[in-house]
């Protein structure tokens, strides 16, 4: 497992993608898993930035892989309770006129990962994603 902390601001994304790319290279993951990891860390990290504007604490990101599972964990401290599982799905069946930008991020993350867990304890939010790897 690899873990690194990143300042909670959008300018950290470049370094976060670099962190993911190093992990992808180390485990020789394919482009589909690389895409899923990029999407997961961006959508969850951006949510954390948006829900605590002005906060200066770091967000911890952990990536782990064994023979069967791929795990992503983001840990955010000094925050209010925000369970990403409670976010309603966007209306993706509307026609163009009635589709609105926004609301897709967590919906897409849920499509790429088999489970999303949330824990909140004394101001610390922990989001864990797990994806079963195909043999």
């Amino acid at each position: 497992m690899v873990t690194r902390s990143f300042k909670k601001e959008l300018s950290s994304l470049e370094a976060i993608f670099g962190f993911v790319d190093d992990f992808v290279d180390a485990y020789r993951l394919d482009d589909i898993h690389k895409f899923a990891l990029h999407l997961a860390v961006e959508e969850l990290f951006v949510n954390m930035v948006k829900h605590s504007p002005g906060a200066r604490n770091d967000v911890g990101i952990s990536l782990d892989k064994d023979t069967r599972l791929l795990r992503v964990r983001l840990v955010d401290t000094e925050v209010e309770h925000f369970d990403p599982r409670d976010v309603p799905s966007p209306q993706i069946h509307h026609d163009l006129e009635h589709r609105e930008p926004g609301g897709l991020g967590l919906f897409l993350v849920k499509r790429y990962f088999d489970s999303i867990d949330y824990d909140y304890h004394e101001g610390t939010s922990t989001v864990t994603l797990v994806k079963t790897l195909e043999k």
Partner: protein, 94 residues
């Protein structure tokens, strides 16, 4: 990093990674597009929900004047994320 420009075929070529930090850059470019146009995704490696939102906003704006964006040369994993979000029914994809 992301690059957006007209290529030699007069398509709008988007290359690199279209994440939330590139929203302003692409929005400003597409704001200058007032008629139907083709986006070439051959060198687009990644797009997040923020990037998809920019494309949706442009498609909605253009549709109001009877125009639209088409997309060419989309990679399989970007085609997947478009399908999951049902963007494949909002954009003509070649």
């Amino acid at each position: 990093m992301l690059d957006i420009r007209f290529n030699d075929e007069h398509e709008i070529a988007i290359a690199g990674r279209f994440d939330v930090t590139q929203v302003d850059k692409v929005s400003e470019f597409l704001a200058g597009v007032g008629t139907s146009a083709t986006l070439n995704f051959r060198k687009l490696e990644y797009i997040s929900s923020a990037g998809m939102g920019v494309l949706l906003a442009a498609q909605k704006r253009l549709s109001q004047s009877g125009h639209k964006l088409k997309i060419r040369e989309m990679s399989p994993h970007i085609r997947d994320v478009f399908r999951y979000a049902r963007f494949d029914v909002l954009f003509e994809i070649e």
